[in-house]
């Protein structure tokens, strides 16, 4: 990912800042600039999403792109945030046997990727099992 693109996306990657349409009460993550439902008549605001939720669905990655190979196996989950939308995130610091639909999770701030040994380090949200 390019450095400028990552930099623009910092608020939502670091702190789960999504967007909210005051007209139709819908929450979006990643954030939207225009409400896909209300279009021009929508009223989009930033909203800090809850850092807790539960696993809605997940998949275990055993064959990963080269960059993530050392982390396998790891789980990618769809997470239903408290009072918020579904978001997709990597789960970290957990055994694959402990990952189950319905389990409570909470957000942590971790390294997502590194652009080699000399490049920028990309940080952002991941989730861990809450108990």
């Amino acid at each position: 990912m390019s450095v400028p693109r990552f930099w623009r996306e910092i608020p939502y990657r670091y702190r789960l800042i999504g967007s909210y349409c005051e007209k139709c009460n819908e929450t979006f993550f990643p954030p939207r600039e225009i409400c896909p439902r209300c279009r021009r008549s929508g009223d989009i605001k930033d909203i800090k999403l809850e850092e807790e939720g539960e696993i809605f669905s997940y998949t275990v990655i055993r064959t990963a792109p080269p960059e993530f190979d050392v982390q396998t196996p790891y789980a990618i989950a769809l997470i239903k945030l408290k009072n918020g939308p579904l978001i997709m995130s990597q789960l970290t610091d957990c055994e694959m046997d402990d990952v189950k639909i319905g389990k409570k999770v909470r957000m942590v701030f971790r390294k997502i990727s590194e652009d080699g040994e000399a490049g920028i380090i990309n940080y952002g949200y991941k989730f861990v099992l809450a108990e």
């Binding site: 910092i10 608020p11 670091y14 702190r15 800090k48 050392v70 982390q71 970290t92 610091d93 055994e95 942590v108 701030f109 971790r110 390294k111 997502i112 380090i121 940080y123 991941k126």
Partner: protein
């Protein structure tokens, strides 16, 4: 008076046993364990570094402080393992908690005492009324070269403190702080070197004991304290032997040291070391308790703090995970996994 209004700690979940490392290098595991008093140490996950550890500790400190992050006027991160040589750790922490903008920010380095130096600087800025709240962090993911004595203890963890003028939300008040500093080459790492070098036996008497002992004695003289006036003592913990012997030399009992002696279960977290000890003490201390903490940084210096616990500790300590609970929440890894986690082998 300057007070701690929020504190938080963070210890990664992975542990490697001292005996597992000793086995690899053909040493007698029990000799090494007994010699250091370190039985296992924390290891960061592949996606953890000083910045993520600092952020995790800070989020707990913010929760206990109960303030809006935008009220923080300064962030200083003390570490000897900042992920970038050029590009501050503090700015990432600022963005992660949402307090970018009008903010004083810098990274500090002074071996293992950069975190306590950060606290002293925040204290000065608050006293001088430049800021209302300031955040000081000590965090590290330190490394010892494979086979080096440092490898048994060098570990990962950190603690964060939010300070302000003393008020009804004060958890503990810093009654006094002082430092003792000399130029002593006991431990160093040159630029572009992956692992530090140390002066072997030179690290004990003329380095650790001289500086921690002098700073602590200076503090006790200045505040007219006797050893039994204090409820808890926290010293920097490169291993368990040094702080316990230091306490003995200064007339303290083992009981005064035990609560803060996290090193035996997580190793030496460098800039996080004495500060994690302090968080473990705050987790159990009662209002009115007196704490003396002296850090140590090779190079060399010691920062000493005389602290009185305040009433708000009772309502704030249970808001976040406690340090010893975090230490007990662990999973063991073997040496092979450890070499991958710590990037000790070259991988394509």
């Amino acid at each position: 008076m300057i007070s701690i209004v929020g504190y938080g700690s963070y210890v990664p979940k992975n542990r490697i046993k001292t005996s597992e490392i000793a086995k690899i290098w053909g040493k007698d595991p029990q000799n090494v364990e007994r010699g250091l008093g370190v039985y296992e140490k924390s290891v960061p996950s592949l996606d953890e570094d000083t910045i993520t550890i600092a952020t995790a500790a800070t989020k707990y400190a913010l929760k206990r402080a109960g303030i809006d992050p935008e009220e923080i006027g300064a962030i200083y991160v003390g570490s000897e393992s900042h992920p970038y040589v050029v590009k501050p750790s503090g700015t990432v922490v600022a963005a992660a908690i949402g307090c970018e903008g009008e903010l004083k920010c810098a990274d500090y380095e002074f071996a293992c005492k950069a975190g306590t130096a950060a606290i002293q600087n925040v204290m000065g800025l608050i006293e001088g009324e430049y800021i209302k709240y300031g955040l000081a962090i000590g965090a590290d993911t330190s490394q010892g070269a494979p086979g080096d004595a440092l490898e048994y203890a060098a570990s990962a963890g950190g603690a964060a403190f939010i300070l302000s003028k003393k008020n009804k939300d004060s958890i503990a008040t810093i009654e006094e702080t002082l430092s003792y500093t000399t130029d002593t080459p006991d431990f160093w790492r040159r630029e572009y070197q992956h692992y530090p070098q140390h002066g072997g036996r030179f690290t004990g008497e003329p380095a650790y004991f001289k500086h921690v002992g002098t700073a602590t004695k200076m503090m006790m003289d200045r505040m007219s304290l006797n050893p039994d006036d204090l409820d808890y003592i926290v010293f920097h913990m490169p291993n368990a032997k040094f702080p316990v012997n230091m306490a003995k030399k200064l007339g303290f009992s083992t009981e005064q040291v035990t609560q803060g002696l996290v090193v035996s279960k997580i190793g030496n977290t460098y800039s996080g070391s004495s500060l994690l000890g302090l968080t473990a003490v705050l987790d159990v201390a009662k209002p009115g308790d007196k704490i003396l903490m002296s850090s140590y940084g090779s190079g060399a210096g010691s920062d000493s703090f005389y602290i009185t616990v305040d009433d708000a500790i009772e309502k704030k300590r249970d808001m976040c995970p406690k340090t010893w609970d975090m230490i007990d929440n662990k999973r063991y890894i073997d040496y092979a996994t450890y070499t991958i986690y710590r990037k000790k082998i070259l991988m394509r």
